[in-house]
Symmetry: C2
Subunit: 319 residues, 2 copies
């Protein structure tokens, strides 16, 4: 069925959740109208501030995200939430089971929440997350929260899509810090020690502070990632968290880093699309009709295999 893309985009910008959902499905599902949708969104995107939140299971990520949504809503912002689960084979608009807290916002028309999964293939996340972000951005979200589970390669990839990357920790998960510290120190612009009312919160913050110190002194314009302590379940420290986020955003803009990051993000997006297109062409080669006639010309001595391969590739990529 052909979709009226301009109408759908207009509805999404009015904040109609079904229109947003429909657009995300179109860009996720490799629909024939994918390109039309992406072209329509291009001039509308760029207004949203994209915040990535990552951390091991158990640190209270959903609770923190939910508290953050409340804070931005109070400030009158439209908020999009992308809950990404790289390990889940399930995707779609349904909330994940353990994200009950998020349902506080389910009836708020100023909040759009979407769950995503990798769709079972490597690179799937990198493929669809940027496009869903683009839809939410073009739909007029002021802030987009991208929440991912764990700190693995996929999470690092998602974090690289954000303007600001937040790493969440909780006391008593020191082992996790040790294990993940190499990755964590690369991706965090801001660290949150949640459940800060528990024993060991200060120790976790200290350890983190020490680790961050080791990686310091990268130049005067460099950003020193702050550590914020929160108890998200009781809404403690959330204002300080938002303040730290806004400080980072201001820093990004002042030092021209925001544009650099977005350019890098766009470059990675283009690269992913181009690589996928070339891979598909490789698959297409196998069944190409011209292969037979090129091969016959080789057997007849009229053509060498390299010249034939050139013809084949030129024909494919020109089409």
């Amino acid at each position: 069925m052909t979709v009226d893309v301009p109408q759908l985009v207009a509805q999404a910008r009015e904040g109609r959740p079904r229109a947003v959902a429909r657009l995300i499905s179109l860009v996720e599902g490799a629909s024939p109208q994918l390109r039309e949708v992406m072209a329509a969104l291009a001039p509308l995107a760029g207004g949203a501030y994209v915040i990535g939140l990552t951390g091991s299971p158990g640190v209270g990520k959903s609770t923190t995200t939910s508290a953050l949504v409340s804070a931005y809503r109070k400030a009158g912002k439209r908020v999009g939430v992308l809950a990404v689960d790289p390990s889940s084979p399930f995707s779609g608009g349904a909330l994940l089971g353990d994200r009950v807290r998020m349902s506080d916002h389910a009836s708020d028309p100023g909040v759009y929440i979407r769950s995503m999964a990798t769709r079972g293939h490597l690179g799937g996340l990198a493929w669809s997350a940027p496009q869903a972000i683009r839809v939410l951005d073009a739909a007029g979200c002021d802030v987009i929260l991208v929440e991912t589970v764990g700190v693995g390669q996929s999470e690092v990839e998602i974090a690289s899509q954000a303007d600001t990357s937040v790493v969440l920790l909780a006391p008593g998960m020191g082992d996790g810090i040790q294990a993940a510290k190499a990755g964590i120190l690369e991706i965090g612009d801001l660290y949150v020690v949640n459940k800060a009312d528990r024993d060991g919160a200060d120790a976790t913050a200290r350890e983190l502070n020490h680790m961050l110190g080791l990686g310091e002194a990268r130049g005067p314009a460099d950003w020193r990632p702050p550590i914020v302590k929160t108890v998200a379940a009781r809404n403690q420290g959330i204002d300080e968290f938002v303040e730290a986020l806004e400080k980072h955003r201001a820093w990004l803009e002042k030092h021209d880093v925001l544009d650099q990051r977005r350019t890098r993000r766009a470059a990675r997006e283009v690269e992913t699309i181009a690589v996928t297109a070339l891979r598909e062409r490789i698959d297409d080669l196998r069944g190409d009709r011209r292969l037979g006639s090129l091969a016959r010309r080789i057997v007849a001595g009229e053509l060498d295999p390299y010249a034939a391969a050139d013809e084949l590739v030129a024909g494919l990529t020109g089409g």
Copy 2:
């Protein structure tokens, strides 16, 4: 250093082994002159009869190959031998250690012998063997023997490059037959039970004959693979072997199968080259300069990522 390709080709056609060796090195090594060499060879190739020989270690493959070389030399033919070892990381012009028998022919200017290895990467064999065959063919070899170790995927791939595929067996290796029979029955145009003076030779031939019978009745023009018994070390049965080969060659020509096989071989060759070229372009994408400016246009909202990917790919494959 730039090579005088026409001169080199002329020398190879005169039978000078160093010129042949140089050409094979040029086509194996992805030299800048690769395309020039392949273009020069294209109109000259097609005269050679390509025989593939495969079998497990211990069946006397080198001895049989050597006996076959002698028989074809006696008939006044120029012979090329390509000894392929998919498991060896070593390549080049040196003979493999256990192929001492072949050194009988080392001083014969009518025989050209070359060892090849996979060069450590998957598909390496499929990549360079057809091109080495092409050099030997264009150099004027009447018969090219491609000898491979074992019956694995690489061997099946090599066998598919031959006009006639020979599978060698030896008595007392019945387990090997059982294990490999699925693959063996697909690729053999002709079976040789070597070491036929040993116990169990008749049993091996019978078992094989039975297995071949199960796959029979594929049509009147179909070829029923004969089973030849040899004692290559004592030159017994070699004339019958050559006779069976020539019978298969005549059958290939009569039923127009030779051209079909060569066309299929050429198609696979073109496909391999084209896939490799596209893979290289994927690698090139990463460092592409245009990526940055395309990304900036996306951030500015002037372009969507798909249109940018199109531009990127078009630029790459057009260049």
